[in-house]
């Protein structure tokens, strides 16, 4: 079965609580009133009985006693709520007991079963049910040597009716109030939940194309939902930013791939435009080969990045001597750029890290290449490795000037160039530093950059040192 909605559950709860409350109030009030009415009835009966027992003293004949009783009854109570019967124990069988004008079967049936009280005593009992409930007093007394019995019954039937009315009013009114409160609760909850529905409809229309926080900012929300909507809005913003970054990356990647392609194609088409001599053809071919090398490098880096993006951690890390890798990679990169004399090796402490040698080589190579290309031309690039108990630090230093603090973090963004043009004059792909950082992070470390006019520019890679338990 489908579970009831929160709205109905709450409404039902409110109705039940209210009904229970009203029932308790009605019951307590009913008991209290019943008790007081009974007390009242007993007092009335006591008074009646005392008066009735005095009547044979005033008169000797039954008619006289009856007249006396009638007057007592009329004087003290409403006639129709009082009954009486009296008789003498030694009275001849043909004359029955004397009854009040509206006699009642209570005396014939209910009281017949009651044990008579001792002489000069009286008993009190309740007979009948509901409207026909009577409080009855039976008293016996010796009058001039004969035993006189008198039974007086008193019914607070009218009070009982009042009580029933009161009970009914409480039940009907209480029921109505409970129902109305239930409906009101339901409506209040419905209104209270409306912002959630509205939010849900807005969220349902958000896709990758129109994602940003503006959707939810203008939504009026009550206090208790503010945090919820706010965090939803913040999440949208984060997703929006990462989508934007992704889109920018795709656009940049396509730009970076298209540009060398366009250059290569234009070179070939220009040279084919007219008949040329052999030297011109050779020159064009050399140029296109350069473009191809640039594209090759870019594609390799893009593929590595894509692989790193899908690698949460290194599958089976091996022990890698970082100092050896750094020296080899730095030498290879400087030789590649035709400037082996620009490399200086600083402290190279024999330290190991757990990781993948190929990736670490690429990381060092990228950092060295960056320093060679973007540092002052002809300047020395110093590579050093040192370690202490906790971590291993690899430094790549060049004599370049200060990089503005605002651009330091941007340098690690994919395809970031200090100049917007993305021209390939430097031969870089714009991915080297991003790759270096990805590799460092994959190894549990990071790359940071410090730069000052006096101290030059230093990229520092911090990696966790190999400990016996990381060597598995």
């Amino acid at each position: 079965m489908k579970p009831l909605s929160l709205r109905w559950r709450l409404s039902l709860l409110v109705i039940l609580v209210l009904i229970a409350g009203f029932a308790v109030i009605a019951l307590v009030a009913y008991w209290e009133m019943d008790e007081s009415m009974q007390r009242d009835a007993r007092q009335t009966l006591a008074a009646l009985m005392t008066a009735a027992l005095g009547s044979p003293d005033e008169s000797d004949s039954d008619a006289g006693i009856q007249a006396e009783l009638e007057s007592i009854v009329r004087a003290t109570t409403r006639r129709e709520s009082t009954r009486y019967r009296f008789w003498w124990d030694d009275q001849p069988a043909r004359t029955g007991p004397v009854d009040s004008p509206e006699t009642h079967e209570i005396f014939r049936q209910a009281m017949a079963a009651v044990e008579p009280p001792q002489v000069a005593q009286h008993i009190y009992c309740r007979v009948g049910r509901g409207k026909q409930a009577f409080g009855v007093v039976w008293a016996r007394k010796t009058v001039r040597g004969r035993i006189f019995n008198v039974q007086v019954a008193y019914s607070n039937r009218y009070a009982y009716n009042e009580m029933r009315e009161f009970r009914n009013i409480i039940l009907i009114l209480g029921g109505a109030v409970a129902l109305a409160t239930g409906i009101a609760t339901s409506l209040v909850i419905l209104a209270g939940l409306r912002p959630i529905g509205r939010t849900a409809r807005i969220v349902a229309n958000i896709s990758a194309r129109n994602m940003d926080r503006s959707h939810l900012d203008s939504l009026p929300v009550p206090g208790e939902l503010k945090l919820f909507v706010q965090s939803l809005s913040d999440m949208l913003e984060r997703l929006h930013l990462s989508m934007q970054a992704q889109r920018r990356f795709t656009a940049d990647a396509s730009h970076e791939l298209r540009t060398p392609l366009a250059v290569a194609k234009s070179t070939l088409q220009a040279v084919r435009n007219r008949p040329r001599d052999a030297a011109e053809y050779e020159h064009a071919i050399d140029e296109v080969l350069l473009d191809l090398r640039r594209m090759e490098r870019l594609v390799a880096q893009l593929l590595t990045l894509a692989r790193l993006d899908n690698t949460p951690h290194i599958e089976s890390p091996k022990t890698v001597r970082l100092d050896v890798v750094a020296a080899k990679a730095a030498a290879a990169e400087t030789a590649n750029l035709g400037a082996p004399e620009r490399l200086a090796l600083g402290t190279l402490a024999a330290v190991s890290v757990p990781g993948e040698e190929g990736l670490l080589t690429m990381m060092v190579g990228n950092l060295v290449r960056n320093a060679l290309v973007h540092g002052p031309s002809g300047g020395t690039v110093t590579v050093s490795v040192e370690g202490d108990d906790g971590e291993v630090r690899l430094g790549v230093h060049d004599e370049g000037g200060a990089i503005p603090a605002g651009t330091i973090e941007k340098l690690f963004e994919r395809f970031y160039r200090m100049d917007a043009s993305r021209s390939c004059d430097t031969g870089g792909t714009g991915l080297g530093l991003a790759l270096a950082r990805e590799i460092a992070r994959l190894h549990g470390g990071d790359v940071s950059l410090t730069s000052s006019p006096a101290g030059g520019t230093t990229f520092t890679v911090r990696l966790p040192r190999e400990t016996p338990d990381t060597r598995t």
Partner: protein, 224 residues
Amino acid sequence: MRVLIVEDEARLARNIAQVLREEVSFAVDISNDGEDGQHMALTNPYDLIILDLMLPRVNGMDILRRLRAADNPAPVLVLTARDAPADMVAGLNAGGDDYLTKPFDMSVLVARCRALVRRSHGKPSAVVEAGPLKIDTVSHLVVYEDQSILLPALEYRLLEYLAMRQGAVVSKTELIEHLYGFEAENFSNVIEVYISSLRKRFDPDHRLIRTVRGQGYILGEAPA
């Protein structure tokens, strides 16, 4: 026709310039930088500007907006590696006349350059007629009295420009500005040399190319 190429990929710019120059009609200037390119575009009467969007220092889009804000009428062919429809729309809305994404075909680029220049002079057809002359701007052949004549490059360039501006007086300065790039050394009397050479070929009595004294030249037969 004088063309400006603003493109930071120096080799791409050089290749485009080479092909355009070999097309006879075009004299080409190159700028590899946004700021420099903007200055050149604003201070010279180019017949066509080929503009890359991602440029150092000044963005191509800004150059385009500034050109149009300065009422510069030169047709602009936007050249960029961005191929998103939104980028094309933005480029055209900023005042661009056409759009090519890299990598492109040189033949397409040349054809579009010709079409843009033609259009900007109100000549929808690739064959421009001037009196008895039919100038084919694609093959650069001039037909005169059922004879195809292949003119020397600069004579053709001069005739084509006069034909594009048919009926208007074109000054010698204007001719120099539109027929030569920066690199060319030119002297105003070369114009007179070319004009007289053209007249010798098909206008012995100076009725087709007339001299307006002190002002310049006008192509188109004088009312009899």
